[in-house]
Symmetry: C2
Subunit: 527 residues, 2 copies
């Protein structure tokens, strides 16, 4: 691919917010915070960045797949989280790896592991680098005794095999979303896994972080798409058996799904595919009250109706994304199928929504509320690089909770986050909520918060808010992450969520596969 990924910001060079999108976002924030203008900082370009000197050089046999160029090292310094963007704005590239290796095949990974083990260096697997939780940063490399090597899988990006009978495909782990879907299109098949980061993340990254796709119900977590895996570890390569189901001992796949690069590199995966959908149906449904919408979602999913999409947005979230005026909550309801028309489940879902006071949007000429929200959702990641230089603190976090505790969790998290915004910034901010995924036993609520910070203390202010939100989530019984993963940012709360004895098991698994502790030390468990 010829497009170059941005060092600072989301996506490729040349992409980003349009002037109009930026104007609208700033106008919304100016109204929210009651200010006329923002204190905008200059963001340094590559030529202005001071990278720490690289401490290693590749051996002759690996030179052609390794780079210590400032561009490559800067690009792999961190992911796309709020603090990552602040550091980019500040020109703080202390986290840069000493070297980036681009394996072309599995054997290259083995060679890099062997070499890195001898230096010694840590190894950080890197897919698309879209982590919003500090998941791709070689944080413990610099300043420690070990050098830091990042293993960028983007050259291992092939569709290797399609099985049209069982509807499954084997891919190299470094394939990006668009390339994966493009390779499947001639076969009439699709993985149908569309996380928001789809264009900028890889299959191996999705599996390593337990990503959840755009679809709201049934198969949504990548966990359920994985049929088998190949993983390269310092002790060798392992491959699990391709099976539609099994009862043979604990699932080996499930150990690596969510392992976040701590046990090795996912070099290949067989994943379950479906035909491309031929029928679509959907509605935008309005509710006077967010909790009424939540109860409607529960009723739909517990009635055994499984919409492809069943998101709800609170009134502020609907307004912030241009989908509404802030007076009502929005349900984005969608159905897909490849076998026959979808009127029946769609009609059933609308009837359930009506029982909870939901009103479908009348047909109009322009884009529906659901379409407006969808556009905003896809464009949202581009905002960060334009808002951070203006000291705006805008971030999101997600959780999952059983239905009977949802309203309590929502209240506690909202209160704690708003209080922390006021404490950290000295002025009120905003927190909004939507559902991204729903299960018969509970929703995955997704929160966005907005605050106006001060240059010079943005990271501290962000940490104060993040900490309050994390504490409230864990205290209310939620998970610290539903699909963003743990990374380095969520470790304090993951440690409280994870049973201690399971932490011992993860450490033991790591010692068994990575006895030298090369891979991502400090992620998930302490070395």
């Amino acid at each position: 691919m010829s497009a170059k990924r941005k060092i600072f910001g989301w996506g490729f060079e040349g992409e980003g917010f349009t002037a109009e999108e930026e104007r609208l976002a700033l106008a919304t924030y100016a109204r929210l915070f009651g200010v006329d203008s923002f204190d905008e900082k200059h963001v340094p370009g590559l030529g202005e960045i001071a990278l720490p000197a690289s401490r290693v050089s590749p051996p002759a046999g690996l030179a052609e797949i390794c780079s210590t160029s400032p561009h490559d090292r800067a690009l792999h310094s961190f992911g796309k989280s709020y603090p990552d963007t602040v550091r980019g704005m500040l020109g703080d590239y202390e986290a840069a790896p000493d070297l980036v290796a681009y394996p072309r095949e599995e054997a290259d990974i083995g060679r890099v592991i062997a070499w890195a083990g001898g230096i010694p260096a840590t190894i950080t697997p890197f897919g698309g680098g879209s982590s919003v939780v500090g998941g791709v940063e070689p944080a413990l490399g610099r300043g420690g005794a070990k050098a830091a090597v990042t293993l960028d899988l983007s050259r291992m990006d092939q569709l290797l095999e399609v099985d049209p009978v069982s509807r499954a495909g084997r891919f190299a782990g470094g394939i990006f979303g668009p390339a994966l879907e493009a390779a499947l299109r001639p076969h009439g098949l699709t993985l149908r896994h569309f996380p928001q980061s789809f264009a900028h993340s890889t299959l191996g990254g999705w599996i390593a972080t337990r990503s959840a796709g755009h679809y709201a119900s049934l198969r949504t977590h990548i966990d359920d798409f994985v049929e088998s895996l190949r993983v390269v570890t310092p002790r060798g390569t392992l491959e699990t058996r391709r099976l539609p189901g099994s009862g043979a001992g604990p699932s080996p796949d499930r150990l690596f799904i969510g392992s976040e690069g701590t046990l090795g590199v996912i070099s290949e995966a067989w994943v379950r595919l479906t035909p491309r959908p031929r029928f679509r149906a959907g509605s935008s449904v309005w509710f006077a009250d967010f909790f009424a919408a939540a109860r409607a979602v529960r009723a739909i999913i517990q009635a055994g109706i499984f919409p492809a999409n069943c998101r709800i947005l609170d009134p502020d979230e609907a307004r912030n994304t241009g989908a509404g005026d802030g007076s009502a909550a929005l349900m984005v309801l969608g159905f897909e199928g490849w076998d026959g028309p979808l009127d029946d489940p769609h009609a059933r879902a609308l009837a359930v929504a009506a029982d909870h006071g939901g009103h479908p949007e009348p047909e109009t000429e322009g884009p529906s509320a659901a379409e407006k929200w969808r556009t905003a959702f896809i464009r949202m990641p581009y905002a960060r690089e334009r808002m951070v230089p203006r000291a705006i603190i805008a971030d999101t976090f997600e959780t999952a909770i059983t239905w009977e505790r949802f309203e309590t969790l929502h209240e506690a998290v909202t209160k704690a986050t708003l209080a922390a915004i006021r404490e950290a910034t000295g002025r009120p901010g905003q927190i909004t909520c939507r559902f991204t995924h729903v299960y018969p036993d509970g929703p995955a609520p997704y929160f966005s918060f907005h605050a106006l910070g001060r240059h010079g203390t943005l990271l501290e202010q962000w940490r104060t808010i993040k900490k309050a939100a994390g504490e409230a989530l864990i205290a209310a019984g939620g998970t610290i992450t539903h699909h963003h993963a743990v990374g380095r940012d969520h470790r304090p709360w993951y440690d409280r969520q994870r049973p201690d004895l399971f932490g011992d098991v993860l450490r033991a698994a790591k010692a068994a596969l990575d006895p030298g502790g090369l891979f991502n030390p400090g992620v998930l468990v302490d070395p």
Copy 2:
């Protein structure tokens, strides 16, 4: 419960084959093997069994929950597999545990672990004892340096909590299927997990062995029902968080699901419930050819139609169970729902079946073919105790395989098993096949075989057949078990199926949780 479980055979004392069922089964076998009568052995009663002397006695504090009575020790000597039944017939109770403990609460489990660790003794968790793979036998206890303690969970059998909002229930691990459903009935809820062993197995046992329920598609493995677990290990008790979904590291639940008692005891579980179904629809559909029926199943499940039941039986299996005359394959098609009528998916599935040459059975007065098969299926486990004393070798095994390899696997397994029957017994036998579960990427084929053996060498003959079948399954790419678990019987093939490095991980996990190696040594991995 007042009914007493049989020491020899399936279920409770007083239950079993009726004289008519026995007459029919024997007539079928006489025809199959071309014999007039069978060489019937006497089966010893409890008074005739020579149990090895118990090597331990419980300390005062544990005496009231422990038993060394011959009845209790004999009852816990093994499960319900073919070789178990042969040993029962031969009066071979060498595998008997030295002592059986019946904990009433979690603290009792901890006390037993502490005491057993000091003897030292191995601990074998025991739910309903319905294992058909050597999963509840303390095989390494006797003859080794350690005594053998069996931990029978049947007194920990309570519904502890119901959450009607999120539709989940918390149960003690020792609750049996009927008690679990009875406790849920007043709440209008059901777990809807009905393995064939339902009446004689426990929730904790289902989870430890990755059981699969009666329903054919979507949620069928217990894996997907588990919301959270409590597990008592020698290092302490751990509890996972109750969540509808999570992306926080590798799933801790999935480590214990399928751990077969090697990491500790599942003392409690939160499981996902549904309302009791209010609508049912179903058909018996006939196909001239088993593979045409298999292709119809694939087309139905890949069309996104998920029947509650979508089993197929080959012509011999249909005849053996009284559902057909042996000339055609049968599809047992069923739908359930609680929200609205089911005609649409049912009609769609019938249309797909028709595309593959399937003919629905016309309405008749008596029981349908599907009903006849269902009755035979439920009664089948009672056959073993009546057939083994007549030297009949009848057993079943199951696997899962992706669709594109199903027909090849079927041919290889059928040929290898028939050849082994002839080699082992010197005469032809029979192997039949049905589907028990189906997935979009493959079926779970279930094989039954029938041979006439000779008293005196039944176990060797069974082993010859079992080995040939296991080798063929693994060579053809299948799993050694879809829902019967690994136990001791499947270890040789599980070892080849399981990646070696994952074996290292399981050993490391065991060392982390059970450093003294108390729990089920030799199950899943070597000590």
